[in-house]
């Protein structure tokens, strides 16, 4: 990581490698004490498509996209949602009043209301782990090796190299959110 380059955290997800085991979901729930019934991440399923016996099935893991242009940040009335220099979009729980406007604004349905605390919460890319030099919990445990995380601005990082070598997309490009989570199919 060059000292002049600003770091930008991002994820790359290779959907072909996802087996929909949902270990990432359990790991996240445990690591981040997510209330039962709520989720910071998910695995979407497309299919089975087609007609027997020519069938397809695709899985799409997801979580908060930590957008460069986050709609949640724009609509937050108290400024509780903020964006760190390294690209992480986080919630200041002291300022959050639980109005859930951000939940309406997010095209990815990435946020949830933590009823016990009365604030809105979401994936933080395991910021506490990133800051301690560890991988996010979901990435660490991914058995298929579908989830990758790292510094998008570092050309030597795994995520940067994956993006350089493969076609990739983001979800709901038309929303103009510029997510930090990329998909390789």
């Amino acid at each position: 990581m060059g000292s002049n380059n600003k770091r930008r955290w991002g994820m790359v997800i290779e959907t072909k490698r996802c087996i929909d085991c949902k270990a990432c979901m359990v790991a996240c729930e445990v690591e981040n004490q997510v209330p039962l019934g709520k989720h910071r991440n998910w695995v979407g399923q497309e299919g089975p498509t087609g007609k027997f016996p020519v069938l397809g099935l695709r899985f799409e893991p997801g979580n908060c996209m930590h957008c460069e242009n986050p709609p949640c940040l724009r609509v937050c009335p108290t400024g509780a949602t903020y964006r760190r220099e390294d690209g992480l979009v986080l919630v200041d729980y002291d300022k959050c009043i639980g109005c859930r406007y951000c939940m309406q604004a997010c095209p990815y349905d990435a946020r949830y209301l933590d009823e016990q605390r009365g604030v809105v919460d979401k994936c933080t890319f395991c910021v506490h782990r990133l800051d301690a030099g560890q991988l996010p919990a979901c990435v660490e445990t991914c058995i298929g090796g579908a989830r990758h995380a790292g510094d998008l601005n570092d050309p030597n990082s795994e995520v940067a190299r994956l993006l350089a070598r493969n076609d990739h997309t983001v979800i709901y490009q038309e929303a103009g959110t510029r997510p930090a989570v990329y998909y390789i199919s």
Binding site: P71, I97, G176
Partner: protein, 329 residues
């Protein structure tokens, strides 16, 4: 995840804020236009304007995840957030409408309308002097003028609150602001009409002129609502697939009956018919309007109900609408 995060508390708030805004607006018009004939309209409008909004705001605070932390809204102004702007706007509106309502209190309460004449008397209430009728009229005009744009803004902002959210295709149209504005004006007018009609049972003159003003205003507003809804439907139906799919929610989907029966039939067409029937003799130059208090009350109640259902349909259907494709998860 298609949960309904904003439920009836939010629907009620949007509805009530609209009623308040519309009542104030009609009162402001009544203050400046038409003179003594429409004083009653202005008075009723002024007196009812603050309360729905205050109740609505109360509901909204209760709806928060952390109600006691609501003050955070007033520690900052987030210019990109319609909700932040709206919080400030609504606060100004409420204070303004309360002051305005105070100017319209009927006797004997108007004995409380006093003001200090000298700066040093501000802290000594006993020395406050009764406001003269001229002063009262002047202040009414000032507050009506100042508050009119604020009330319009309240009406518009409830639409912008939803309309500025691209992630909910059903909401994401600039027309939502106008639609909600006209709905606010018409429900506000209807509220004043309803109160007037109910009061009319106890008065001799039955406020016919006033009610005629209100009914005419309401007809205009309702017709404008129709003119807003048609482009809204067309715009969505012909839009990219997210919007087109979202409009299905009221064209066959789960909110179809609510919308067409609740909002359109009961909230727009039926009142239009009743009010048209009330005004028909006038347009045909008959002697007096063939209106009864019951008809006025009925049509205004229907408009109010329709306005509520409009908010309900939009708030709920919007949250069910989504960018496509939605992955099952």
């Amino acid at each position: 995840m298609e949960s309904i995060e904003w439920g009836l508390l939010v629907v009620n708030y949007l509805f009530l804020a609209g009623v308040s805004a519309g009542a104030f607006a009609i009162s402001a018009i009544g203050t400046h236009v038409g003179g003594p004939r429409f004083r009653h309209v202005a008075q009723v409008g002024a007196l009812i304007a603050p309360w729905p909004a205050m109740v609505g705001v109360g509901l909204l605070v209760l709806d928060l995840g952390r109600p006691l932390a609501f003050y955070n809204l007033f520690l900052t102004v987030q210019y990109t957030s319609p909700m932040s702007i709206g919080a400030w706007l609504l606060s100004v509106f409420i204070l303004l409408s309360l002051a305005y309502a105070a100017l319209w209190v009927p006797a004997p309460l108007d004995n409380l309308l006093r003001a200090p004449t000298r700066v040093q008397d501000v802290a000594h209430f006993a020395r406050w002097i009764l406001l003269s009728p001229k002063a009262i009229r002047r202040w009414r005009a000032i507050l009506a003028t100042a508050g009119f744009p604020v009330s319009l803004s309240v009406g518009i902002y409830t639409g912008i609150l939803l309309g500025a959210v691209p992630s909910r295709p059903f909401w994401n149209t600039p027309m939502l602001a106008q639609l909600f504005l006209f709905s606010a004006m018409s429900t506000g007018t209807a509220a004043v009409l309803l109160v007037t009609a109910l009061l009319g049972t106890h008065r001799a003159n039955r406020y016919e002129e006033e009610r005629r003003l209100l009914v005419s205003t309401d007809i205009v507003l309702i017709v404008l609502e129709i003119f807003m809804l048609i482009p809204f439907l067309l715009h969505h139906a012909l839009s990219p697939w997210s919007s087109a799919s979202s409009i299905q929610l009221i064209l066959g989907g789960e909110f179809t009956l609510w919308f067409w029966i609740g909002t359109i039939l009961l909230g727009i067409l039926l009142p239009l018919a009743i009010e048209g029937y009330e005004l028909l003799p006038v347009t045909h130059k008959a002697s007096a309007t063939r209106h009864s208090l019951e008809l006025s009350a009925a049509s205004s109640a229907l408009v109010l109900a329709g306005g509520f259902v409009l908010r309900y349909v939009f708030v709920y259907a919007g949250q069910v609408s989504h960018f496509l494709p939605v992955m099952a998860h």
